[in-house]
């Protein structure tokens, strides 16, 4: 029996994602035509047999609450265990407003929940990465190494160095140093996924909270590197992070590559999401649609190319959509032209309007806008 518990950090909103995180955290950002980012790590946990998962939230989490609901869609609705949403409970904010300063502060905000964890090991992960990660293999490596903490990391760099953490690894995988915000040749980028035992976790949270330390990376991985046995688990598969709008756009377009879809959506490790009971997508007699990813419930009577269409997008006859990401409910009226645009939910573009961004600077349109 799998003996892991999952903790997802879903409290932060990447400020450079601007309009896209105006009303949500990065974890609830729509991605890949029908998912929210949190679906990926949540599904990874379910697929790895993790029975109980806590999601740490802080502000702006209404969208997440609505998406996750009772956890049924991930088969996590239980009386005992299953999915638990963890708004800041005992957390008094040390007199500060705003989100948690770091993972340790977030964990200390839900300390009473952590104490009740029934499993021996805990996976800590961020809710805002698109990846299909076999966590049971990470646990196996953790046990094989008799490690105190195992951190998932990658040789390929993915994020902006200033916002990422890097590990120096010995050939056997042992982590010798942790650098925050600074990439050095040969170091591994952290995917912010950690496995450790429940008891160590409680000790660390306790200790760090008593010393006003809040950053797992700096105050544990870096500061305690001598006293703890830290190992890296190398992941060389696909993983996408989202630190700014251009990131979001690039990663979305990558999905048009079948190999990347294969890596992210492999059938035996399905990514689950909320089910909206949409019917199939209808293509009209004169529609044209190439190299695009299209969700259910759309009505395509115009042209789409190199685009990602979320559910219930309508492209009227004569409208043209190229290199766009159109979220749920976008309506493109006849004759409108859109290129290099990211439209958030329920945007309407009236007949004949022309919206053109640039590949390196896609035009992002806020939720509900009418143009």
């Amino acid at each position: 029996m799998n003996d892991m518990h999952g903790i997802l950090f879903a409290y932060s909103a990447g400020s450079r994602l601007q309009q896209l995180v105006e009303h949500r955290t990065t974890s609830s950002l729509p991605f890949a035509g029908r998912y929210r980012l949190i679906d990926f790590m949540l599904s990874n946990m379910v697929n790895s047999g993790i029975p109980d998962i806590g999601v740490i939230m802080h502000e702006n989490y209404q969208s997440l609450l609505d998406h996750l609901g009772s956890g049924k869609d991930w088969d996590l609705s239980r009386k005992h265990g299953g999915l638990k949403l963890l708004p800041p409970f005992a957390y008094t904010g040390n007199g500060r407003q705003g989100g948690y300063r770091g993972k340790l502060e977030a964990l200390s905000g839900v300390y009473s929940y952590l104490e009740k964890i029934r499993q021996e090991y805990v996976v800590l992960a961020n809710g805002d990465m698109a990846v299909n990660l076999p966590l049971e293999k990470v646990l196996k490596a953790h046990l094989d190494h008799c490690a105190d903490i195992t951190a998932v990391c990658t040789r390929r760099t993915r994020g902006t160095p200033a916002e990422s953490t890097y590990f120096s690894l010995l050939p056997d995988g042992r982590i010798t140093d942790t650098a925050c915000g600074h990439y050095q040749e040969g170091s591994f980028e952290s995917l912010d996924v950690y496995i450790l035992s429940k008891s160590l976790l409680l000790n660390l949270v306790d200790y760090c909270s008593g010393h006003n330390q809040y950053s797992f990376e700096q105050d544990v991985m870096q500061r305690m590197r001598e006293s703890l046995l830290l190992y890296g688990y190398e992941w060389d598969g696909y993983a996408a992070r989202f630190q700014c709008i251009a990131d979001y756009y690039t990663k979305s377009m990558e999905l048009l590559d079948p190999r990347i879809r294969q890596e992210l959506f492999c059938r035996d490790r399905n990514i689950r999401t909320r089910d909206y009971s949409n019917p199939s997508t209808y293509y009209g007699p004169d529609s044209s649609c190439q190299n695009s990813l299209i969700s259910d419930g759309c009505l395509i009577e115009g042209r789409a190319e190199n685009s990602i269409l979320f559910r219930s997008v309508v492209i009227e006859p004569g409208a043209t959509v190229t290199n766009c990401v159109l979220m749920q409910g976008t309506r493109v009226q006849s004759g409108a032209v859109m290129k290099y645009v990211i439209a958030d939910k329920r945007v309407t573009v009236h007949s004949g309007r022309v919206l053109i961004g640039h590949e390196t600077y896609p035009l992002a349109i806020s939720k509900g806008s009418v143009i």
Binding site: R34, P258, P279, T281, Y282, Y283
Partner: protein
């Protein structure tokens, strides 16, 4: 646990006129309309009508339906009180169990189940039809007229009326006569096989019907005539809207093609969602050379070829250069490069080999030899030709209609 009205869904039909398609599953489990199975329609209608307790009477291949329905979550029927329950024939102590003798016998055998909920009314449904209907309006009419039984009816063209069970009614729509397939129909109100009974009445007639050795224990043939004969108050409830029986290859094909038309069933109406159980797959992908016209395509598909006037279920692959026209491709079908599928129904998981040809347009064949081609599963070898009207089973063997 008392419920005002519970539904009993007759899902035991073997669907033998669907041949290879029902060889491995019961008719109500047949995929339909891109995302659904036939049983999704009555189940969703129940939930949307506020009926939260449904007994599903199965007998043929119950395991498939059982695992499709699961705990009912997909239809919001996972309830503490009520919910959806699969009811296979019950083997009583010391006696051998048998399949249900007829529709009325199926309900008779499950009287204990019904009595648990102590209902005022019982709605009898079948798993053979595709339609959207608010049963609560029918129930309101039943209550208002204080009827013993209310039968949902559809106006059919006069010339087709002799193919149906016809209700002859008075000005209040109370039924005074029921004629099964009359040669000279007096009305054009055809029974849709949807009944609401006042339970206390039905109970009485079911017991009498079971005691009658000459009865076929069928609602249409025995129970309804007996109630009419006894002078019970029987109401015809007029339904107008899309309603289609999908009991034959042709009607199944037809009904799927209807889903391409926007003025048949509006599946986008959020106030009356049709729920279904389907795996979460990523959005479908249309390739650089994909041509898609007048078709419905579902999650998980990968389309690199041509798809026209067709219904594609989830996870279908149409490779580059393959052509699919006027066809229904059920979940997980692969059409390999250069294959052509026209006027065909291809069952779940089939693989149409490169360059194979399944079906053909009506014009190319003598009308009497033409029909929808059917692939019942398995692999169609590359280059093989399956002519119109021909059916092959999972092993690729031709099956005679």
């Amino acid at each position: 646990m008392k419920k005002e009205c519970i539904a009993m869904l007759l899902a035991g039909g073997q669907g033998s006129r669907l041949y290879v398609l029902t060889k491995h599953m019961a008719k109500p489990a047949i995929p339909f309309g891109g995302k659904y199975r036939i049983i999704d329609f009555p189940l969703s209608n129940c939930v949307n009508s506020g009926i939260d307790t449904v007994g599903v009477l199965t007998q043929y291949r119950p395991l498939e339906l059982n695992s499709y329905i699961g705990n009912g979550q997909s239809w919001d029927l996972d309830r503490i009180s009520g919910g959806v329950h699969i009811l296979p024939p019950y083997v009583r102590e010391g006696s051998a169990g048998t399949w249900y003798k007829g529709t009325a016998n199926a309900i008779y055998q499950n009287m204990d189940f019904i009595e648990q909920y102590n209902p005022e009314y019982v709605l009898i449904l079948s798993g053979d039809h595709v339609y959207k209907m608010d049963y609560s309006e029918m129930l309101d009419a039943h209550k208002k007229q204080e009827a013993a039984c209310t039968i949902s009816v559809l106006e059919v063209p006069r010339e087709e009326a002799s193919r149906f069970g016809i209700m002859n009614v008075n000005e209040e729509d109370l039924i005074y006569e029921f004629e099964e397939k009359p040669k000279a129909p007096k009305s054009n109100l055809a029974s849709m096989g949807i009944y609401i009974f006042t339970w206390s009445k039905l109970r009485e007639y079911l017991i009498a019907d079971e005691a009658n050795a000459r009865s076929k224990n069928d609602f249409g043939a025995d129970v309804i005539p007996a109630m009419l004969g006894a002078g019970e108050r029987m109401l015809a409830f007029r339904f107008s809207g899309y309603w289609k029986d999908v009991g034959t290859i042709e009607s199944l094909w037809d009904a799927n093609m209807d889903m391409l038309s926007r003025n048949t069933l509006n599946l986008l109406d959020q106030s009356w969602p049709i729920y279904a159980r389907s795996p979460t797959r990523p959005p479908h992908y249309t390739g650089n050379e994909a041509i898609i016209h007048h078709s419905i395509i579902t999650q998980g598909c990968e389309i690199e070829g041509t798809v026209e006037n067709s219904v594609l279920f989830h996870s279908v692959t149409v490779e580059t250069g393959a052509e699919v026209r006027y066809s229904i491709l059920m979940p997980g079908v692969t059409v390999e490069a250069g294959a052509v599928v026209e006027y065909a129904i291809v069952a779940e998981g089939s693989r149409i080999g490169a360059g194979a040809r399944v079906g053909a347009p009506p014009g190319d064949t003598a009308p009497e030899d033409w029909g929808v081609a059917v692939v019942g599963g398995g692999a169609v070898k590359p280059g093989r030709v399956i002519p119109p009207k021909v059916m092959v089973d999972r092993k690729g063997k031709e099956v005679v209609r």
